[in-house]
Symmetry: C2
């Protein structure tokens, strides 16, 4: 699963380095606030997940991590991913068994994802109205919703053009 350096963005070329820096800074700040540790290992994993706007598999993270961290093993990666998810810094894309940096880090939340099956770029969109509609639908069925998984696959605007 080679994920090249080019074509990393969801919509157009942009300064992706700034994306990564934003994500890392936000994570550092939030961890400080919360009194939890963004250890070098965890930070490195977060950086790897943020290398592109495409969901990345745990074993791809492991391969990349192992270059700087020879002792890395599957549990190393999964523990870091679990931490990052618990803090709301990344999401798991269930339909791909892969992980994606969260653009709205802060409150842990369920996102809504648009996944391009051609280029792999995945966009997280926030749509309060839609979220409310989902909660409505649950409530109507007498169901206490706790977690939402909403993943839409198809062709992104760039690939369609």
């Amino acid at each position: 699963m080679a994920r090249g350096a080019a074509q990393q963005t969801a919509h157009h070329t942009h300064n992706h380095k700034a994306c990564i820096e934003d994500a890392l800074t936000t994570a550092r700040d939030l961890c400080a606030e919360r009194g939890v540790q963004l250890t070098p290992l965890r930070e490195k994993v977060l950086q790897i997940v943020w290398k592109s706007h495409k969901p990345v598999g745990a074993y791809d993270v492991l391969d990349e991590l192992a270059r700087s961290h020879k002792s890395a093993r599957p549990p190393t990666v999964y523990r870091a991913l679990d931490f990052l998810m618990a803090e709301g810094f990344i999401h798991k894309i269930e339909s791909l068994n892969a992980y994606l940096g969260c653009v709205e880090a802060g409150a842990p939340h369920s996102g809504l994802f648009l996944i391009c099956r051609k280029c792999g770029a995945t966009e997280e969109i926030a749509d309060p109205k839609l979220e409310a509609a989902l909660d409505q639908a649950s409530k109507r069925a007498g169901f206490q919703a706790e977690r939402r998984v909403v993943e839409i696959s198809g062709i992104c605007a760039q690939c369609a053009a």
Copy 2:
């Protein structure tokens, strides 16, 4: 993963045998219409998936299938599951890596699922308004939606009571 005979329904006790029979009859009719083969193997797998209203893992299907079909292997099961999904008779629940009988077999479609994390019962609900809202949201992002995964986990009405 013991899935008992009791407590099989999403909402209340009901004649689950009728559920299964309905599903099998519908599948037989549709396959005849479409000129595809609902072989004994595929029918058996469909029946196993329909044993309850809880999503069932592929390897649980395999265990059950092997009782009557000694040569069954993972590919046996996955091929049958793929066929049944392609024909719209079952759904895959991505967040559980498990499969569930479709209550609205016929047109292949993406469902919306309410998954109880306590009893496992999973209800498929149809909500055209919500589906339209999801399509709207995609379109607004210039995205051509092809497949939807919508899975809501929480506590069902029965378990809450």
